[in-house]
């Protein structure tokens, strides 16, 4: 665990280097680590795109955005994994919308899921703690709760879709998500 959180800090340092010095070798390191994870993320939502190179389209788009936006990355506000997650999420939304022929609008995911400037010191204080403890807290969740959160985040399924897939009442899915988030918050503040 110790080692993991140290390593994760390294990713944030590398990302800062990419942003400040436009360091290509640091970017390559980030790519080697995150590209396979982004591909896993892509395939969990769009398995139809599987095949040897399915999922690579999203990886390419996300990693290019990482390079372009790195100068705006602030390690005090988010860990590299969170920051890259939000980019991957937005790119995946746009990719799916393009596939569904919604190009008629000028509105992109970045307009709806913006990274607004957050100058509130309150949230800065919270952050370092969050990053270190969410992972271990997540593992303490009952499996039926962590399973649903994984479906909602990684597979990008709405609560209603999860309910249908797992043959559960919608209310059950909703309350498991609520309980899981509440429990994560309690575990995190207790640490």
């Amino acid at each position: 665990m110790e080692l993991k959180s140290e390593r994760r800090d390294d990713w944030s340092n590398l990302l800062s280097q990419v942003g400040k010095q436009r360091d290509r070798s640091a970017f390559k390191e980030l790519f080697k680590h995150f590209a396979p994870l982004i591909k896993g993320y892509s395939l969990s939502k769009m398995p139809a795109a599987a095949g040897p190179h399915g999922g690579d389209e999203l990886v390419q788009e996300v990693m290019l955005k990482v390079w372009q936006k790195a100068p705006y990355f602030d390690p005090r506000k988010a860990a590299a994994s969170t920051w890259i997650y939000t980019i991957a999420r937005n790119c995946r939304i746009d990719l799916l919308r393009r596939g569904a022929k919604h190009q008629s609008t000028s509105l992109a995911a970045d307009d709806v899921w913006q990274q607004e400037d957050e100058n509130e010191p309150y949230s800065l204080l919270q952050h370092t703690r969050n990053q270190d403890s969410i992972r271990s807290s997540f593992r303490e969740l009952p499996p039926e709760q962590s399973h649903i959160l994984t479906k909602v985040y990684m597979e990008g399924k709405s609560h209603a879709e999860v309910a249908q897939e797992l043959d559960l009442p919608l209310g059950t899915v909703k309350s498991r998500v609520r309980l899981a988030i509440k429990k994560l918050q309690v575990l995190i503040t207790a640490r």
Binding site: W67, S81, Y85, M154, K182
Partner: protein, 214 residues
Amino acid sequence: MVKHHPNENLLAEYAAGSLPFGLSIGVSAHLHFCSRCRHRLESLNDLGGTLLADTQAVPVAADLLDSVMARLDTPVQQQPKPANRFNLPQVLEKLVPDLKSLRWRRLSPSLRVSRLQAGQDRYEVALHKISRGGKVAEHDHRGQEVTVVLKGSFSDDEGVYTPGDFLLREPGDVHRPRATQNQDCLCLSVVEAPVLLTGWFNRWLNPLLSFKPG
């Protein structure tokens, strides 16, 4: 002071990107006004980052790194950030190029609507304007409806809503909004299905509220 917020489920779906695009526009508008929810969202994004870090890694094509490296120097078309002309949420700056050129349609003496092109087909995204002191016919909801107050305020039997307040109505909820006396009220609304007027006199008005997702 924002008093009404999206619930935990809605915000988690938004953070996960699994909330329908139309409803996400409503949440995005609320976040502009609400630092508390922006903070809640950070934690929910952190959860996404953690899950991404722990997801099953799948090898990418051997030449992908090279082809990305080759594209790094491609100049990026910087989209000029629209100047915040009316102090509205950023998402609306994009949806409403010019507040003055909006075409308003009169639904009743005190209610006007202007539909926005939000590029999706499940929800109708619109601005509603209630004139000061005006009342809106009592209505039921056939589908989910999200309302975010942008300017002014309105009230119904349950309370008074001011800028930033986020309201989610479910099918079966009946309410009768009215604007406060001193100023017009501007709201963003995201509606899943046509609103149903329940008063006997208003039934024949329903066809006027034709549903046009956009």
